[in-house]
């Protein structure tokens, strides 16, 4: 056993004891420290490249005029573009920020700065090393994107926001910018979560202002403008990096001196007698109170966001309810009427996303940080068993957030009242209380489980955010249609307010593709259907429309929310089980 161990560690020992190899030292260090995030980003790039190649094989089967149809339906480059643009953002958040933040936070920077690397060289070589890994990947992805996009470019143009940023020069530029932005935020904020928030804000602002060209620019200007964009982005990166150097030259790392030097606040202590009496009480709500004390900051942020959404609903809802029915604003454009400056589409996208943003972060903070920072060795040595500790936290925070989700869902139901007929057809099915609260519970418990398994907060939260969003999209797209028996309409529209499930055309023959589009667009609009019907008869085609009638609304809500809460209970039980078996 011992000799086997010695043999196995022999090579390692020789390597550690061997002569130093100064070439690429920083690259090795950065890879060693950040290989998790770096390899995830490299794999994402590889997956994106693979998906583009496969999509090209698929897309080329269609005649050119159909691409417009796809674009209109949203199957065009919009979604993949957005997903691919998340790669440089992820580089900023998960490589750029962690390049220096943990070292500043834990004080290991003090170690690094005494190893013969100056502070400036330390920061610069970290940035360069991370860029050396990620920029080649970005260039390859950008080149493959440009090749794939050639089919779509004539229809959509080179200069839409999404496409332009994905050509190789721009993508490489955004990657470098992301890394330096993350690092600059880190040097400024010196705390991981603050730095991530700052990076996100900076990223959105730069994406808004640091863009050249417009949809009206001539196609011939693509490559010159690409390199102008690259130059601009590199210049901004240069400014940010100089900022990093100035900032870290200034102060030592947190873990070292400043904590000892920082004055202890000298506010007058509360009366010891009163506090001692307070400490003696042992109310029934002790467990939830402990959970609240530990997680109140995060919970308050979540509740504030939900509260803001409820306030917007209340203000606009009062206006809508006060209008006579015939003057009532059209459903989708209400916000322009009552909230000047708001955009007309996507009004409810953000509230729809709230459970997927609040739940994962709240859930991951229940289990992740305690395991990550070792404070479980405090918590689990107190007088409460681990199962009770975990279950109590989940129950306390879960009940608060689920109750808040139910309340906002009910407010939305009141708001939506005047549009009752359109209820099932509208995309806001998920905003009604049962399903809204159900997703809140699922995202919360799933993140708590992942946090317990991976001993992380940020990773667990982001993984659950992405995972549950994909699950929710898949549920809406593929599963919801199968929860109940569907109704079928042959060559006629579905009744108003129905939920579209599917549509087939038999004997399509020479039926123009525009008719498909109109069937999908106006599936429950009987006035628009007169033209469609005429076309179908002329080409001897049969259209079969599968839908859920509006009367099934609450049944669908009940089924979906029951499934979601069952899933949440399962995740919660699994979290408790994992915590019970965890070693501190």
């Amino acid at each position: 056993m011992t000799s086997a161990l010695t043999a196995r560690t022999g090579a390692l020992r020789r390597r550690i004891a061997g002569p130093r190899r100064p070439r690429l030292a920083m690259l090795r260090l950065v890879w060693r420290q950040h290989r998790g995030a770096l390899s995830v980003l490299l794999s994402l790039s590889a997956v994106a490249i693979g998906a583009l190649v496969l999509a090209d094989l698929y897309d080329r089967r269609f005649p050119v005029h159909l691409w417009r149809t796809f674009l209109w339906q949203g199957y065009g480059p919009n979604y993949p573009d957005l997903a691919m643009q998340a790669i440089p953002l992820a580089a900023a958040l998960f490589v750029g920020v962690p390049l220096i933040v943990p070292e500043l936070e834990d004080g290991t920077a003090n170690f690094a700065w005494t190893q013969g690397y100056g502070k400036a060289r330390w920061a610069l070589s970290k940035l360069a090393a991370a860029a050396a890994v990620l920029v080649p990947a970005a260039v390859v992805l950008g080149l493959v994107f440009g090749w794939w996009y050639r089919l779509y470019a004539p229809a959509t143009g080179y200069f839409t926001m999404h496409a332009f940023a994905l050509y190789a020069p721009a993508l490489a530029g955004w990657t470098v910018l992301g890394l330096s932005l993350g690092m600059a935020s880190a040097a400024l904020a010196r705390r991981e979560r603050r730095a991530m928030a700052l990076t996100l804000v900076g990223w959105v602002a730069l994406h808004h202002y640091a863009v050249v060209g417009s949809p009206r620019t001539q196609p011939g200007a693509l490559w010159p403008l690409q390199f102008i964009q690259l130059a601009i982005l590199l210049a901004i990166s240069g400014v940010l990096t100089s900022g990093v150097i100035v900032l870290i030259q200034g102060a030592p790392a947190i873990g070292g001196m400043p904590r000892l030097l920082r004055a202890v606040p000298t506010r007058a202590a509360p009366d010891a007698q009163v506090l001692a009496r307070q400490l003696r009480r042992r109310p029934i709500m002790a467990g939830p109170r402990a959970a609240w004390r530990q997680h109140r900051a995060g919970l308050l942020i979540g509740l504030t966001v939900l509260g803001l959404y409820a306030a917007v609903l209340a203000i606009t809802g009062l206006h809508i309810h006060a209008e006579p029915a015939r003057l009532r604003p059209r459903y989708a454009s209400f916000a322009t009427l009552y909230l000047p400056g708001a955009s007309t589409d996507g009004n409810f996208l953000l509230p729809l996303l709230l459970p997927f943003l609040i739940g994962p972060f709240a859930g991951a903070s229940l289990t992740g940080p305690d395991l990550e920072q070792g404070t479980v060795r405090f918590a689990w040595a107190q007088g409460v068993t681990r199962s009770r500790w975990a279950a109590g936290k989940l129950a306390a925070v879960g009940c608060v957030l689920v109750a808040a989700a139910v309340a906002t869902g009910l407010i939305f139901q009141w708001w939506d009242g005047p549009y009752l007929a359109e209820r099932l057809a509208d995309p806001w099915f998920g905003l009604y209380a049962p399903v809204y609260a159900g997703w809140m519970a699922v995202t919360l418990t799933a993140a708590a489980l992942v946090g317990a398994l991976t001993r992380t907060r940020t990773f667990a939260a982001v993984a659950c955010l992405a995972g549950t969003l994909v699950a929710a999209a898949a549920n809406a797209e593929f599963l919801r249609g199968h929860y109940l028996p569907t109704a079928v309409a042959v060559n006629r529209p579905a009744p108003p307010g129905s939920l579209f499930v599917n549509s087939y055309v038999r004997h399509a023959g020479a039926l123009p593709s525009a008719i498909y589009t109109r069937v999908l667009q106006d599936f429950d609009n009987s006035t628009a259907w007169t033209g469609i019907e005429r076309a179908l008869t002329r080409y001897h085609a049969t259209n079969i429309l599968v839908y859920h009638p509006a009367s099934q609304f609450w049944q669908l809500q009940a089924i979906e929310s029951a499934a979601l809460f069952a899933l949440a209970l399962l995740f919660g039980a699994a979290t408790v089980w994992v915590i019970r078996r965890r070693e501190a």
Partner: protein, 303 residues
């Protein structure tokens, strides 16, 4: 009555054994020092006793048969880890309130009095306190739950000499007043001698020496004599450590308990040993063991 009983206890982290086949019984009302070089398994033993880790094989029980980590054990075992983990972004008062909420027994008056004695502002963030103050606060919380057994991992490491003195005084006061048992690991040998009545020496995951301090000291003696006569000593002596200083040689040997003390060999003088010397001798010779007789640490009975 035992506060900690381990039988055939082993703990493995992947390929490395942190503890191997430990048999140990620590009696009630004792203050036990846990000594050993870095990596000897001290923290692992304390973590196992606190229920933070589970044994790979064998069993460990605290306070007469309670399973570590069970609700009844948690209630009466206090534990402070080496880095005294506390919620850094909480205030001192918040930390006390959380501890109150998490413990069925909680002496808030004691906690507040201690915090006042330490002159810790109740509103200060725990993360803004110095390392020593954080350790003191963690100990205060552990004592305020009125444990019957207190487990402390390196409690002295982060304290200055004065704080160390006060800390040990506090510990002894708690032992005298409430009769609690304490097991703590430490490298500070002189302090150990002052307060410990029991001693467990761990080396490479095994128990090297365990017993009551007085008995252990009585069981060893130092022979001093001319170096050239070492070979003439009886083979049964089996010295634990031989230190040569010029023509003189010092031998730390084990005396045989329960038997008449043998006369010193010709030319050698017998002296009693002191704790520090004994511990250093054993630390320097990891292979030497002096396990107690069955009256102290037999195999665990049925649980």
């Amino acid at each position: 009555m035992t506060v900690l009983q381990a039988s055939a206890l082993s703990k493995r982290y992947r390929a490395v054994f942190a503890l191997r086949d430990c048999n140990l019984a620590i009696p009630d009302g004792s203050v036990t020092g846990l000594i050993g070089p870095n990596g000897a398994g001290k923290s692992t033993l304390l973590h196992l006793a606190a229920g933070l880790r589970r044994p790979t094989t064998g069993s460990i029980r605290v306070l007469d048969g309670l399973v570590p980590g069970s609700s009844s054990a948690l209630e009466s075992v206090g534990f402070v880890a080496a880095d005294a983990p506390l919620y850094r972004n909480m205030s001192v008062a918040g930390m006390l309130q959380v501890s109150r909420d998490l413990n069925p027994v909680w002496d808030g008056r004691y906690a507040v009095r201690r915090v006042d004695e330490l002159e810790l502002p109740l509103t200060a963030k725990v993360g803004a306190l110095s390392g020593g103050h954080q350790a003191q606060l963690a100990l205060t919380i552990a004592l305020a739950k009125r444990p019957r057994l207190l487990l402390l991992d390196e409690p002295l490491a982060r304290l200055d000499p004065l704080a160390r003195h006060q800390f040990l005084g506090l510990l002894m006061a708690a032992v005298a007043a409430d009769g609690i048992s304490v097991i703590f690991s430490s490298h500070v040998l002189t302090e150990l001698g002052r307060i410990c009545d029991h001693l467990v020496l761990l080396s490479q995951g095994r128990v090297q020496l365990a017993g009551q301090v007085e008995e252990v000291l009585a069981g060893h003696e130092v022979l001093t004599g001319p170096a050239d006569q070492v070979t003439s000593l009886p083979a049964t002596l089996a010295p634990i450590r031989i230190a040569q200083a010029g023509a003189q040689v010092h031998l730390l040997v084990r005396t045989h308990r329960g038997r008449e003390p043998e006369p010193a060999p010709a030319g050698f003088a017998v002296q009693p040993t002191v704790l520090e010397e004994l511990v250093l001798a054993y630390l320097g010779e990891p292979a030497a063991t002096a396990l107690p007789g069955p009256e102290f640490a037999g195999p665990a009975g049925p649980v």
